[in-house]
């Protein structure tokens, strides 16, 4: 890690406050009683944003060589995308439920 490029601790506190603010937005959205699909999409987007900030700044990937990012994240995302093979069967069950 190249310590000279890192942020000051006060900046990290700001990042922590920002992350907590996103959590507050998530809670407010939850109690708006949005449709489940809209709420899920909103929560996943906000959680993804939080995760990206945490990876780049708290886990300090921003200050590592870019090869780390390009080795780790595309491979992990690829595995997680592959897990989407489950959804067609889940929606098959969902549709069977509606027909009952």
């Amino acid at each position: 890690m190249s310590a000279n490029r890192e942020l000051a601790m006060s900046s990290y506190v700001g990042i922590g406050v920002g992350l907590m603010a996103i959590v507050c937005i998530e809670v407010v959205l939850t109690f708006q009683h949005l449709p489940a699909r809209t709420l899920l999409f909103s929560l996943l987007c906000l959680a993804g944003l939080e995760g990206f900030v945490a990876i780049m700044y708290l886990m300090q990937v921003k200050y590592e060589k870019p090869i780390l990012f390009w080795t780790v994240f595309p491979a992990t995302l690829f595995v997680l995308v592959l897990l989407c093979y489950l959804w067609p069967d889940a929606f098959r069950m969902f549709n069977m439920r509606l027909m009952q």
């Binding site: 890690m1 310590a3 601790m9 990290y12 506190v13 922590g16 992350l19 907590m20 959590v23 507050c24 998530e26 809670v27 959205l29 939850t30 109690f31 489940a36 709420l39 899920l40 929560l43 996943l44 906000l46 959680a47 939080e50 995760g51 945490a54 990876i55 708290l58 886990m59 590592e64 060589k65 090869i67 780390l68 080795t71 780790v72 491979a75 992990t76 595995v79 997680l80 897990l83 989407c84 489950l86 959804w87 069967d89 889940a90 929606f91 069950m93 969902f94 439920r97 009952q100």
Partner: protein
């Protein structure tokens, strides 16, 4: 004739330009992220397929979850301070920040167990739904949050070992940094577990 005794002298430098321990931790984090991903996908699968899903979390549980999030986020910041202290300052300062991080981790675990005890008191179990709906909610909730709680408790124990080793001079700042990487990952996972397991199940 000069004899090379250090193996490192014969090896190419790592393209990642980082400590071996840290690179190993990244490999672990990738595998663990896939494990949590699989758990959350299985939860989504079961939730879509279940006819009626339990939504046991009221405002008090969500506020409890927000406090847990704040505690875990604060512990990430104190962990960063511990890494900084290990790199630049004294053992005492490093131990102080590691101690605060462990304390916050223990508080998180206690708050989590309080939520579990409340749910169990209401009749929720791994395979039982007290409202008569789908039984999978308990299985999903206790499995995912239990796996995360195990990571938190393991992290607190690991930090205690690192703090002890650092104090005795057996470990250096790279050990603290590697432990910190794990701790931030635990925080990162919670950022997905909280909205998916708590907020999506609020009534």
């Amino acid at each position: 004739m000069a004899v090379v005794t250090q193996h490192e002298a014969l090896m190419e430098p790592s393209p990642y330009a980082m400590d071996k321990k840290k690179l190993g931790m990244w490999v672990f984090i990738v595998s663990d992220a896939c494990t949590f991903g699989a758990f959350l996908f299985a939860y989504g699968y079961m939730r879509i397929g279940a006819p009626v899903w339990g939504t046991p979390f009221g405002l008090s549980s969500i506020v409890n979850g927000m406090v847990m999030t704040a505690v875990l986020l604060s512990s990430s910041l104190t962990m960063l301070a511990a890494v900084r202290a290990a790199q630049t300052s004294t053992k005492a300062k490093t131990n102080k920040w590691l101690g605060i991080t462990m304390l916050l981790g223990a508080i998180f675990a206690a708050l989590h167990l309080r939520e579990w005890i409340r749910l169990i008191g209401e009749g929720w179990r791994l395979f039982h739904n007290p409202t008569g709906g789908a039984t999978q909610f308990g299985a999903c909730f206790f499995s995912v949050t239990g796996l995360h709680l195990t990571h938190v408790v393991t992290g607190v124990i690991a930090l205690a070992f690192v703090a002890r080793g650092f104090n005795q001079g057996r470990y250096d700042d790279s050990h603290v940094e590697t432990a910190g990487l794990y701790w931030h990952f635990v925080d990162l996972v919670w950022m997905f577990v909280f909205p998916l397991m708590y907020l999506m199940n609020a009534h």
